[in-house]
Amino acid sequence: MKVLVPVKRVIDYNVKIRVKSDQSGVETENVKMAMNPFDEVAIEEALRMREAGVATEVVAVSIGTDKSQETLRTALAMGADEAMLIQTDADVEPLGVAKLLHKAVEKVGPEVVILGKQAIDDDSNQTGQMLAAMLDWPQGTFASKAEFSDGKVALSRETDDGIETLNLSLPAVITTDLRLNEPRYPNLPNIMKAKKKPLEVIQADSMGVDFASRLTVLKVEEPAEREPGVILGSVDELIDKLRNVEKVIS
């Protein structure tokens, strides 16, 4: 079976975010970019499926500007077989991304699509569930374990109360939590090899879907700052503050 893995290019998670002074968004010029961390986990899971003989081929896909080719090369260097860039300069919202991915699924023909549970820029946590709805496939979200057998996957997922296990019949959509696996780093020989792997570029506008934004961003602001605090010298001082100044403990 083929596995399709959508990967998004985002600001590296270590970078301190700066809001633009005109409140139009956050600064992305000259900022280190990387693959969304959840998507690295998704690629890793697909590679392990191939290594275990469950999958035959891993295809990475990204929707974004030309620069997203870098992210796809990273996926190829990790070990993906092929990549597809759905190119657009527009900022595409999760609903639009899911519509474009729906087309990509029709083209590639995977039996499993593994996405990250959320993109760490928009923090939407929507695309996988939306794609599953469009395909009318089962969805296994926030996965911490996935075991494939007999056209099914036993999927453990992180909930607010603990861990839940579902049985999903394939084809299915899975979204990853960070604890699903630890992604590998691409080594130099694989980075070299990745340069020769196929990377197809398709124009998003040619895919016959309406991915125009439904949300208008009116402004983006810095969050409220906290008042600076104080370093105390002893546990007794702390208890005094909490009990008598803040009155938050009895």
Binding site: V26, D123, Q126, Q129, L166, L218, E221, G229, L238
Partner: protein, 310 residues
């Protein structure tokens, strides 16, 4: 204009986060607020829902396929009554995050995730980049689908309402998804998200054994226990205790962080707490930049002293 709020519950009790979603709904303008309680043997929850202040009608859907809030089934049942609602709201919990985008796609709506403020009936504030920026967004969709960050909205009163309860049919079960089992963390502690006091441990706790020293302290303070991702990843604490960008968002009266460095992904889940206390041996740890009170001390000295003095 009417607004549908989908209740979060465990089939016996209404989750308090739903009350925050109701209060977000009440800020949408002059609107009728309806609550949907979908589950199995959840009649008690429907009764509790009917008593919530401001709610005018409760829909009650029963089926075995709704017992564990399977996302495919919840989305279908909500979809079957979505009708003319101007807004459909849910809690930004693991459950709400799971089913609502599925319904949004079915209705061709761009969902608005995790709102922290209502500006008007079509304009909302939501955190992006782990809360390092706040975006104000205006929706052009006819129906707005929204998940609500409960810590940003005062809970509606759970008494005083007298809504009618109406039964509705659950949608048929989605064949491709079967519930197998659930491992629920047992605890008689207060719920992490609604607790007034949270004591939280990070990698600095050092081991699963050591993490347990937070328990008697939490007991004394009537506190819930939280954890950083590093503590969960290392196996010191179960996943449901994780606080942060990809865990739970909490805003207690006081949050006490032991051996947590204060990565932005952790701060995303606790920096709205009223008072933050940080205990860390490293005076340069970023947690001190958000802490109201800091102790540059060894947590293994501080915890017994606190225990003694309280």
């Amino acid at each position: 204009m009417s607004v549908l709020v989908v209740a979060e519950h465990n089939n016996s009790e209404l989750n308090a986060m739903t009350l925050s979603a109701v209060s977000a709904a009440s800020q949408l303008g002059d609107s009728d607020i309806h609550l949907l309680v979908a589950g199995e043997n959840c009649g008690d929850v429907a009764k509790q829902a009917a008593a919530v202040a401001g709610v005018t009608k409760v829909f009650h859907a029963e089926s075995a396929g709704l017992a564990h809030a399977i996302g495919e089934n919840v989305a279908a049942t909500v979809g079957s009554i979505a009708g003319d609602y101007s807004h459909i709201l849910a809690t930004a919990t693991a459950s709400g995050k799971n089913w609502m985008p599925r319904l949004a796609a079915q209705l061709d709506v761009q969902q608005i995730s995790d709102i922290t403020a209502v500006e008007s009936a079509d304009t909302f504030v939501r955190p992006i980049y782990a809360g390092n920026a706040m975006a104000t967004v205006q929706s052009s969709d006819a129906t707005k689908l929204i998940t609500v960050r409960s810590t940003s909205f005062e809970a509606a009163a759970d008494t005083g309402g007298s809504a009618s309860v109406e039964s509705v049919d659950a949608a048929g079960d989605f064949a491709g998804t079967q519930f197998v089992s659930e491992e629920v963390g047992e605890s008689d502690r207060p719920d992490l998200v609604s607790a007034k006091v949270v004591v939280s441990g990070g990698r600095g706790m050092g081991s699963e054994e050591n993490f347990k020293i937070l328990e008697p302290l939490a007991e004394k303070l009537g506190a819930a226990i939280g954890a950083s991702r590093a503590a969960v990843d290392a196996g010191y604490a179960p996943n449901e205790l994780q606080v942060g960008q990809t865990g739970k968002v909490v805003a207690p009266d006081v949050y006490i962080a032991f051996g947590i460095s204060g990565a932005i992904q952790h701060l995303a889940g606790m920096k709205e707490s009223k008072v933050i206390v940080a205990v860390n041996t490293d005076e340069d740890a970023p947690i001190f930049q958000v802490a109201s009170y800091g102790l540059v001390m060894d947590l293994f000295d501080v915890i017994p002293q606190l225990q003694e003095a309280l």
